[in-house]
Structures are given as structure tokens and as C-alpha cells.
């Protein structure tokens, strides 16, 4: 994502000397779809900010909860933007365990993540994988992968899990979300999880980790709850609105602890009226 200018026909060089968002994320989730460089950065960051481990797991858990919630609302087709490297508990697994006919389109800009997704999904007629920058909503929405699988006359679940903090303000995340919103039919849902915190919560002890990740992997933009809420323009937020990630419809009181109220990420699901 650091060479936005490259034309579509020339994918990024596959530079294994550089960590990738998707592989570092996989490492933190306990996967082995990663390389030494990824693990080195992952370990370094984690050493400075031990709470990060639970933050990461929570994003993935939010994905599960959000998809299950959407399934409960009758959603049977999903557009997973910034889908990452498939590991355990992928969207199509969750969805198809409820309804074997559920459809999913995975979209990611990372060519390795996409190649891996394709490799394990060959033969699954109800899942498509698309390699594109999600910031170009038009290109995503008009792609054959999306058009051939998703029915825009029926509600769609759009997932932007642990994605938008990689989109700086200068790229107008608000406008990007709006582009997708305008394309999906009424009754559709949007789930966003997003790194962020409120005024005064940042611990200067995390500065190094932040710098390490920004420099080594990718620049991140942490947003306030207010800003995350603004991304849902044109949606009606479902209970409990924009919440600290663990507090969004927790599955068990045991999943909460004294850190939950200051958790370093927000999550929410909205419904397009």
C-alpha cells in the first residue's frame, strides 16, 4: 500500500525483505504464514506493548461476532475488505457453517495474502478473491469477482475489520466508506473495527512500538471514537453503537476485564436504512 501510484497491471514487487501488514498480523494471531522479518517486527512491537496481543485477538474476535450478528440478521453475502491472510475462523467458514450457500468476496491489496487465499479457496464456488486497493471503491464494486458473486438487490455485509487505520485522513476514509455505502442496498450492514483511543489514554511508553510499526510495516492512523462514529454516516448503528472492542456484544462476561473500558480499539456495526 505504499505505492498507490503504481498502475493496476503492475503489482507491487513481492519484497520479502519487508514485513507486511497481513503477515505480521498472522504472526500475532499465532499463525506461521510469516517470515523472519515479520516475526522480528512483531516481537519487537509486542515486547514494548504487551497489551497489543489481546488487541489483535480482539479484532479477530470482533470479526467473528460481527459476522455472526449479521448472519442472525439474515445477511448471506459478505464483502470482506482488507481480508488478510486466511487463518482460522475465516468469514466464509463462519458464514457457511450457518448457511452453506453464503457467499463471500475477499479483497486485499497484498498479493501474497491474495495468492494464499486463492490457493486454499480453489474449488469453492461461493467465494471469490480480488486483489485491489479497497480505496478505489469503484474498481472493487465493478470487478467481475464482486459482480459475478454478489447480488446488489439483496443486503450485503461489508466488513472493514482492522483496515481503516491503514487509510490516512488524506485518503479520505470517510469518502471511501461512503462509496461502498452508496453501492449497497438498504438493509445492508457495515462492520468497522479500528485502532484508536480517547484523549489522554496514550501511554508514552508505547511511542517506540508505534514508530517501529509505522516505519517497519505501515503507517497507522489512530482515531477517536467520534471519528469512528463519523465513518458510519448514513448508517444506523446497532447496539451498543461505537464501543471499545471487547465491549461490543461480548460473548461472555469472562471476556471482559479491567482494561476493557480503555481498550485501544473501537468497533461498531451499522445498518443502512
Amino acid at each position: 500500500m505504499d505505492s498507490v501510484e503504481r498502475p493496476n497491471w503492475a503489482p507491487d514487487d513481492i519484497d520479502l525483505g519487508r514485513p507486511s501488514i497481513a503477515r505480521v498480523y498472522d504472526y500475532w494471531l499465532g499463525g506461521a504464514h510469516n517470515f523472519a522479518v515479520d516475526r522480528a517486527v512483531g516481537d519487537k512491537v509486542l515486547a514494548d506493548v504487551p497489551v497489543l496481543k489481546s488487541v489483535i485477538l480482539n479484532h479477530r474476535a470482533f470479526l467473528r461476532r460481527a459476522v455472526r450478528f449479521m448472519l442472525s440478521q439474515g445477511i448471506r453475502q459478505f464483502l470482506d475488505l482488507g481480508s488478510g491472510i486466511p487463518t482460522v475462523g475465516n468469514v466464509h467458514e463462519i458464514a457457511q457453517s450457518t448457511d452453506p450457500d453464503a457467499r463471500v468476496v475477499y479483497v486485499d491489496v497484498d498479493p501474497v495474502a491474495v495468492a494464499h487465499s486463492r490457493a486454499i479457496l480453489t474449488g469453492n464456488e461461493l467465494v471469490n478473491v480480488l486483489q485491489t486497493d479497497v480505496r478505489d471503491a469503484k474498481q472493487v464494486l465493478e470487478s467481475t469477482e464482486v459482480q459475478s458473486l454478489l447480488d446488489f438487490d439483496r443486503p450485503i455485509g461489508v466488513l472493514m475489520v482492522a483496515l481503516l487505520h491503514f487509510v490516512p485522513d488524506s485518503d479520505d476514509p470517510h469518502g471511501i466508506v461512503a462509496d461502498y455505502r452508496d453501492a449497497i442496498p438498504s438493509g445492508s450492514f457495515l462492520a468497522i473495527s479500528h485502532a484508536g483511543y480517547e484523549e489522554g489514554e496514550w501511554d508514552p511508553a508505547w511511542d517506540d512500538a508505534k514508530t517501529t510499526y509505522n516505519r517497519g510495516v505501515s503507517e497507522m492512523t489512530y482515531r477517536r471514537k467520534q471519528e469512528v462514529q463519523a465513518l458510519f454516516d448514513g448508517f444506523e448503528l446497532v447496539e451498543p453503537g461505537v464501543a471499545r472492542l471487547p465491549l461490543w456484544r461480548p460473548e461472555s462476561p469472562d471476556d471482559l476485564d479491567e482494561n476493557s473500558a480503555h481498550f485501544l480499539s473501537f468497533g461498531a456495526v451499522g445498518r443502512k436504512p
Partner: protein
């Protein structure tokens, strides 16, 4: 996905366990879950995790009590943990420790030697099973991600290859010529279109440097911009450029040259896109030719001529230039009588002859329209150059032209202008040539006339005068002076001649010779003459009142046109009446030509005037061809002998016998007819004396007095 997990491990013989043991297993599983949750992502709820671990715990319970005792279930549990993605780094350690510390206690099992050793064996097997499964999973995932990398690379390369192939195809298949050269101008590659366009193969083209493609007709900017581009000062430019093909033909093109820079921004290649516009160019040329040539004669037309003339003035490569503006004499008659078709053929032939007689560089023959042609000579040496051209043209037109059985003789009039370019303009040249053509016509046709600034100035002044005259009459710019007519006998002023003057706001005081002729031409002479007559009569009336019998009569000139004005008699009568002037106080002067050889009507008018009592004088007598015999039938009272006869009488010591003889003969003749005689132009005492001796009655001239204001006449009379 490959990581399909069946996390609901069947607990064989679960139902066999006693409820207390089951409760213990459940409690242990909860502790276990707390210990391992949060070190890796497991796609289960906390409750599901606990349930999963309880099932594994039950397997352990069975294994502890089994007989024969086997470690395999421990190995199995290790593998199942990994399978459920309990892959966090401390998962195994915590699990093994928890088993050792809590399991037996929670299950209510006596920690005897046997159970301890069985537990230890199961812990070991679990660790081994976990490690092995994790290693396998890790290896599988590592392999998967490496494969994904290779796939992605293949994809990227394929995309790159596809895009390269696309570009290659674009380059080779493009209908527009494309060429690539390095920054020194060495040609590296050219596409098929460019090879076809220029007729060279790639191999041949590669021998060339861009500079070899220079064409003599290239605009200077083409190569100046090229230098700027290769220097990296500009990134692209467009130009019109001609190329020479391998077969020697020319190709007209639109060229776009672009600079390609390397990653550091330094000039690296240049790419030329060349579009063949030869057809368009030729079409344009043809259209342009059509727009600039006369379809009938094929000669350049007015537009092209004016363009060329403009260029002569813009370039100033030459110092002088000349024009012949030519117009056929009487062409309209030919056209009207023989038809346009013949007229057109005549024009074609004239055009051909002109073109034939005026050939050579710097000369252009154009048809301006109708029967007007123009010849432009650039870089003439002097006026004679152009005169020679005009002579040649006139000669060339002398021989009759044969068209459809007619033998036509044509002539032409030519206006010539030739001059230095500095200080004049194309428009000046055209205007002067046009004027001069008019002169040639006015001077009698079938000739050339040369532009002459004095003549032009005069004509301009004439034109100005005649144009401003009516307004001048209204604004009272005219006034009348009087010149005494003196009786030679006793030097008495017997009459005065009224002489009109024009106090012109621009040209100052103008004598009648400057404007009377013009007034005759324009017809303004009639109102002007009437005005003078009234002025003179009013003045005569004033003198009559002041001087009574001694008052002079006024002699007023009557122009030819006035003498033929049917209103003349009535006008004169009304003016005399209104001024209450006895008719014999008025004398009208007419020229010989006005009186002689006129039709009857004017003569009638003169008779009527004469009968009324108005005196009639013949002005300038002796200069025309008067029929002397006829004179006696005319209502005339006075002859005014022209001043030109006074020449021979002028000198004090000697006289010209012939002139004396003429004058005395005229006087005798007049007296024989009982006419008075006035001598004009008397300037010396000798003349006055001689005229008196000859018997002349009256004298007029500077010797006596110049024309003067009426007040000065008053003074003369009072003396």
C-alpha cells in the same frame, strides 16, 4: 480451508464417568481454558473453548485409568490442541504444568506412584504430540505462504509480461509512427508504421542519428526545441516536419517528441510519435491554391496578390517595388455585344499574354477581378524597369485576338507606380496605382500613365474644393472684388468687373481660376453665379445711390452652364427688380465659345436680356474661333480683347507690329459693328497709351487698378 477443525473431540466412555469426577474434569477444563486463552487466536467463544478442553480432560481421565495403560491419547490431545489453533508460544508449557499441578487433585485421584508415573507419561506424550503437530502445522503454513509468494510473483510477472506484451503490440501495431532514440540521438527502435512511412527498415534506421533526418525546409524551431529537449529543458514538443523518404519523395508529418527520464530525472530516451499528414497537406495545398487563384485565367487572384504585396513590405528584402494596374479599354462593350463567353475567352487570352510577357522571378501577374489585372515587380531598379514592363504588355496586346471567328483588337490602360519601399505602404501603392490607371484612361486610353505626386496633390485639392464648395456657399466663404474698367479717353471709371473670390478656411484666398471650372463641373456654378450676380447688383445699386450718374456699371461673368440655364432671364430680371437697378447698369460677360456655336435657346435668352437693356460683352475675345460675320447678328454690345494680345504693346520703346495690327483690326471691326471695345490685361503706361491711340474705348488691368474691395472703389470714385 485446510485448517478445518473439528473441535468437538469425542469423549469415549464419557457416560462411564462418575458425576464427581465429571465435575472435577469440568473445573480443571475451566482453569485450563483461562491458562491458554489469549496466547493465540482460537475461533471459539470462551464457553466453546472450555467445552473443548473438558472433552480433552475426559480423554485424559480415561487414559489414566485405562488398562492396559497407553500414552497414545496424550499424544492425540497434544495434536488436537494445535489443531484448534492453541498455537501460542506458552500454551504447551502452561498445559503441561497445569496437568502436573492440578489434574489429579481436581479429579480426586490419589497421587500415588502409579498415577504420578502414568500422568508423567501422558504429559510427555502430549508434549510430543503437540510439538510434532505444531511443527507440521508450522511447516505446512510456511510452505503455503512460500507457495503464495511464488504465486504472487508469478502473477506479478505475468501481469508485467502481459503489460509488456501489450505495449510491444501497441508499438508494433500502432498506425502512428513511433521511434525511440537515446539522448545522443542514436535511433534504437522504430515501429512498422514508421518504417513504412519513411521507407527504411529498422536496420537502416538504426544507422541514423536523429539529426540525419533534418530537412532543408524544417522550421528553425524544430531543431531549437530538439536541443532544448535533449538538454532536458523541455519534456515534449510538437512540430510540423517534413521527412525525405528512402525513395526521395517527401512526407509531411505532425511530430511529437517526448523526453523519457530515468529514476533520477535525467534524460534517458526520446520517443517520437510521427503522424503522416501528407494527404492532408496536399489537400490543403490544393485548397489553398484554389483559394488563391482565379479559376478562369489560372492566374493568382487578388488575395494572393495582396498576400505577396504584403510580404514584399514585411520582408523588405528588396528596396523598391513597382505595380502596373491594368484595365482593358472598352471591355464592357465586347462583353455586352459578343456575350460573356467571348468576354471570358478574351480575358483568358489576355491573361496568357500578360503572363507570357511578364515572366521571371519577383514578378507576379494577378487578375484582380473583371477586366482588371495587376503586375507586381519586386526589386525594381528604377521606374524605367516598370515602364518597360508596361510597354511590353501594351505591345503584346497589339496583335488581334481571334476568338470564335471574331478578330478582336483590345487595348489597355495602365497605371504605373514605382518607388522605394521605405516611407510607403502596400495600401498606398495600391491606391496610387488605381488613381494612375484612372489618369491613363482620362488621358485617352491605350497607354500607360505614371504616378505623379503633384498631379495627385492637385487632384486631391480639386476634389477637396469641389466637395466643400456647397457648404462654403452657405457659410458665406465667398466674396466679390471689383476691378475698374477705365475709359481711355479721360481715365474715368465707367464700370467694374465683379470677380468672385473664395476665402477658404484651409487653402486661404482662392482666385476664380481655382474653383470656377470645378463649379462648372459640379453644376454649383449656377447658384454661385446667381449669388455673385445678386451681390454685384446690390453693390451697383449702392453706387447708384451715392454717385448717381457717375456710378459704374457692374460687369458679371456668366459661365457657359449659366448661359444655358432656362431660368437665366427670369433670375436676372428678378434680381434687377429686387435691387431696383436699371438694367444698363449691368453688363454680362460671356466667352466666345459660350455665345458662338450655341443652340438657339441661349441666344434667345441673350436677346431677351439685351432687349431688357442689359449689356452683353464677349469676354476674352480673339482666343476662340469666332465667326466674325455671325457677330453682327448677335445681341452684343462690347468686346473684351484678351490680355494675350497686349503682350506686344507692353514695352515702352518698341512695339510688336503684328499685335498692334491685330488689335487695331479688332477695334475697327468692333466699331464697324457699333460695339465698344475693352482691352484686358493692361499693365503698362505704354500699353495704355498705344491702346488709346489705336482707338480702344476702355481699359482694364493692373496699370489702372487691381481688383479691390467695394469700399476701395468708393474711394476711387470720390476722387
Amino acid at each position: 480451508m485446510t485448517e478445518q477443525v473439528d473441535h468437538r473431540v469425542a469423549a469415549p466412555g464419557r457416560s462411564n464417568l462418575d458425576p464427581a469426577v465429571l465435575a472435577g474434569a469440568e473445573s480443571f477444563a475451566r482453569t485450563w481454558a483461562t491458562a491458554v486463552i489469549g496466547s493465540s487466536y482460537v475461533p471459539m467463544t470462551r464457553a466453546e473453548v472450555a467445552e473443548h478442553l473438558q472433552a480433552l480432560t475426559e480423554v485424559l481421565v480415561h487414559a489414566l485409568h485405562a488398562s492396559p495403560f497407553r500414552t497414545a491419547p496424550g499424544y492425540e490431545i497434544g495434536a488436537r490442541l494445535v489443531e484448534a489453533h492453541f498455537t501460542g508460544t506458552d500454551t504447551l508449557g502452561r498445559t503441561v504444568q497445569l496437568l502436573g499441578d492440578d489434574l489429579l487433585g481436581e479429579l480426586g485421584i490419589q497421587p500415588d506412584e502409579l498415577m504420578r508415573s502414568r500422568l508423567a507419561a501422558l504429559q510427555g506424550a502430549l508434549a510430543a504430540g503437540y510439538a510434532r503437530a505444531l511443527r507440521e502445522r508450522t511447516l505446512a503454513e510456511q510452505e503455503a505462504i512460500r507457495a503464495a509468494v511464488l504465486d504472487a510473483r508469478d502473477q506479478a510477472e505475468a501481469a508485467l509480461r502481459a503489460s509488456e506484451a501489450r505495449f510491444r503490440a501497441m508499438f508494433t501495431e500502432a498506425a502512428i509512427g513511433i521511434g525511440i532514440a537515446d539522448i545522443e540521438g542514436r535511433i534504437l527502435d522504430v515501429n512498422q508504421a514508421l518504417q513504412d512511412m519513411l521507407g527504411f527498415s529498422v536496420e537502416e534506421m538504426r544507422q541514423y542519428n536523429i539529426r540525419d533526418l533534418m530537412h532543408p525546409e524544417d522550421g528553425g524551431s524544430v531543431w531549437r526545441l530538439y536541443d532544448q529537449l535533449t538538454a532536458g529543458e523541455c519534456d515534449h514538443y510538437r512540430a510540423e516536419k517534413r521527412f525525405r523518404r528512402a525513395d526521395g519523395e517527401q512526407v509531411w508529418t505532425h511530430l511529437t517528441l517526448s523526453l523519457v527520464r530515468d529514476d533520477h530525472g535525467d534524460p534517458q530516451y526520446q520517443v517520437a510519435m510521427i503522424e503522416d499528414v501528407t494527404d492532408r497537406h496536399l489537400l490543403q495545398n490544393r485548397l489553398r491554391y484554389q483559394a488563391l487563384h482565379d479559376p478562369l485565367t489560372g492566374l493568382p487572384n487578388r488575395a494572393l496578390f495582396l498576400e505577396r504585396l504584403g510580404r514584399v513590405f514585411n520582408n523588405r528584402a528588396r528596396h523598391r517595388a513597382g505595380l502596373c494596374y491594368l484595365d482593358l479599354d472598352g471591355f464592357k462593350v465586347i462583353n455586352d455585344s459578343l456575350g460573356h463567353d467571348i468576354g471570358d475567352q478574351l480575358l483568358v487570352e489576355v491573361g496568357r499574354r500578360l503572363d507570357h510577357s511578364v515572366s521571371g522571378e519577383g514578378k507576379l501577374v494577378a487578375r484582380m477581378g473583371g477586366d482588371e489585372f495587376v503586375i507586381l515587380v519586386e526589386g525594381s531598379q528604377d521606374t524605367q524597369d516598370i515602364v518597360n514592363v508596361a510597354d511590353r504588355v501594351l505591345r503584346e496586346l497589339e496583335s488581334p485576338i481571334r476568338i470564335g471567328g471574331h478578330e478582336l483588337t483590345v487595348s489597355a490602360s495602365i497605371g504605373i507606380v514605382e518607388r522605394a519601399l521605405s516611407g510607403t505602404t502596400a495600401a498606398d501603392l495600391m491606391r496610387d496605382a488605381d488613381i494612375t490607371l484612372y489618369w491613363a484612361k482620362a488621358d485617352g486610353k491605350s497607354r500607360w500613365a505614371l504616378y505623379n505626386p503633384e498631379r495627385n496633390a492637385k487632384e486631391v485639392a480639386r476634389f477637396t474644393l469641389s466637395a466643400t464648395m456647397p457648404a462654403a456657399l452657405e457659410r458665406d466663404e465667398f466674396y466679390v472684388d471689383y476691378q475698374p474698367l477705365v475709359r481711355l479717353e479721360d481715365s474715368t471709371v465707367v464700370g467694374v468687373e465683379a470677380l468672385v473670390r473664395w476665402q477658404h478656411p484651409e487653402f486661404g484666398r482662392l482666385a476664380p481660376d481655382r474653383f470656377i471650372e470645378l463649379a462648372e463641373e459640379t453644376g454649383l456654378i449656377v447658384p454661385l453665379g446667381r449669388w455673385v450676380l445678386r451681390k454685384a447688383c446690390e453693390q451697383a445699386r449702392r453706387w447708384l445711390e451715392e454717385f448717381g450718374d457717375a456710378a459704374p456699371f457692374v460687369s458679371v461673368n456668366l459661365a457657359v452652364r449659366q448661359s444655358r440655364d432656362p431660368e437665366l432671364v427670369r433670375d436676372v430680371k428678378r434680381i434687377l427688380d429686387e435691387c431696383a437697378l436699371p438694367p444698363h447698369h449691368l453688363q454680362l460677360e460671356l466667352t466666345e465659345s459660350a455665345i458662338m456655336g450655341t443652340a438657339d435657346e441661349p441666344l434667345e435668352a441673350l436677346r431677351a436680356l439685351s432687349e431688357m437693356g442689359v449689356r452683353i460683352a464677349i469676354d476674352d475675345f480673339g482666343t476662340g474661333y469666332s465667326n466674325l460675320a455671325y457677330l453682327k447678328h448677335l445681341p452684343v454690345h462690347e468686346l473684351k480683347i484678351a490680355g494675350s494680345f497686349m503682350e506686344g504693346l507692353r514695352a515702352a520703346d518698341e512695339e510688336d507690329a503684328v499685335d498692334v495690327q491685330i488689335v487695331s483690326t479688332l477695334v475697327q471691326l468692333a466699331h464697324a459693328l457699333q460695339l465698344g471695345v475693352t482691352a484686358e490685361g493692361v499693365e503698362t503706361p505704354a500699353q495704355a497709351k498705344r491702346l488709346h491711340r489705336i482707338g480702344c474705348d476702355t481699359g482694364q488691368g493692373w496699370f489702372f487698378a487691381k481688383p479691390m474691395k467695394p469700399e476701395s472703389i468708393d474711394e476711387l470714385l470720390r476722387r
